[in-house]
Symmetry: C2
Subunit: 256 residues, 2 copies
């Protein structure tokens, strides 16, 4: 699909309501009329509809655990096969890797946080994390943790006020690609390893001191509930942290 | 100083008022009674007082450009020498490198955003960036861009509600270490270089695609007002981005 738009659609602020999937599509908020994920493997995903169709979806307002597509029986809606890493599933992972904002639309009755009627635009989310797991049905599914981003309608007003007075480059075009979080326990592990990457042995040193990142082997937070203890934490350089989080490899240079 | 506390001080929420520096110190919000920066080179900085004492300070509410200490005449308060990268100046850079939250206290009459009376605790800030520049006086000064973090008093309530139901590891202890931002122009540069680091040639590839980061040579936003154009952007691997931002070098492995 050409002209894929990431982020806000002008004229449709957070909270906008739509009666049908056709209206949603025509507004440009979520183009596909049936699929839950709007996106391509090359461009990433720009929106999802949280329809409650998947037994494993979880919605806690600002944090959603969204289930990828595929493997469901058309008649019964039950999971009858493993999900693969293609189409929308891979598109959502690409949005995670690049920090693209994803529009989330919820459907009435889908979950405890969804609105009373029809479809509602719930704002922009970051695909904070994704992983494969065995669902309630016993089949492998892809899951995505979506974290609410600040409402850009508010941010833009602030930014445009600032622009006149201070900024040469417009700042509302900037998006967040990556957020590195830390815990007290993580800081202890980094000190223990003297900020040396456990995968390649590199030690980055800035003017003010050494730098490393902590990677939780089993992630913190629902649904993994990984413990914040030393045995669950690796001390990594930023490059190996990215590779660790995104199942990757390094090409073209000697990254041990 | 032993027992340095980063983040919120229990019992003193954002907006708390104090009559004097002694009260501020006894509350533990900002320990030193004269210095504007509380911190050490080994531990990092935990708080600053925005007193309006430096001619180059800028305050726009959620974003503050703070001037480091040193080089001022005790009698006149005028900048009469270059500032060095020691003490509190280096401590603030260490907090930036590690993402430690810094308490900001503002003094009445200091700036347009400061309160009407005495000292007010304005909440936690992230040291987003720091650099050396020539101040209005003609001397070299250290400057720090501080960005407001969400009020943890609000976040904690949400988190503790979630914990009972979902989380094994308490999440309010987590802090943000690093935020990587992106722009449309940055995405074009990364595509142009096919996500290869311009410093070492490495190309990180995750399951969903390649990953690189864009570094603005002259930063966007006040006071640099660097342009968001290709000539101002480098395509870097995360390791070289950290080194580029923090004036660093890599030790112990072959990072080209």
């Amino acid at each position: 699909m050409s002209g894929r738009v990431f982020g806000e659609i002008p004229g449709y602020p957070e909270g906008s309501r739509f009666g049908t999937r056709v209206e949603l599509s025509e507004a440009g908020l979520h183009r596909p009329r049936v699929a839950g994920i709007s996106g391509s493997e090359k461009e990433g995903a720009d929106s999802v509809v949280l329809s409650g169709g998947y037994e494993d979806d979880e919605d806690r307002g600002d944090e959603i655990v969204y289930t990828g597509h595929g493997g469901r029986d058309v008649q019964t809606g039950r999971q009858i096969a493993d999900q693969n890493f293609r189409g929308g599933n891979r598109a959502l992972a690409l949005s995670s890797l690049n920090g693209f904002p994803v529009r989330v639309i919820s459907k009435a009755g889908a979950t405890s946080h969804s609105p009373a009627g029809d479809y509602r635009y719930d704002g922009l989310y970051l695909v904070d994390d994704y992983w494969q797991e065995r669902g309630r049905s016993g089949f492998l599914i892809w899951r995505y943790r979506l974290i609410k981003l600040p409402n850009p309608s508010h941010a833009e007003r602030t930014v445009s006020e600032e622009r006149g007075a201070y900024s040469a480059a417009p700042r509302q075009t900037s998006t967040i690609t990556r957020i590195v979080r830390d815990t007290e326990q993580a800081r202890r592990i980094k000190a223990l390893y003297d900020h040396e990457c456990q995968m390649c042995g590199i030690r980055l040193v800035g003017l003010a001191g050494p730098y490393a990142e902590a990677a939780h082997i089993r992630p913190l937070g629902a649904p993994h509930d990984g413990p914040d203890v030393s045995g669950n934490i690796l001390c990594l350089c930023p490059n190996h942290h990215v590779l660790f989080d995104h199942g990757g490899a390094a090409v073209g240079a000697d990254l041990a």
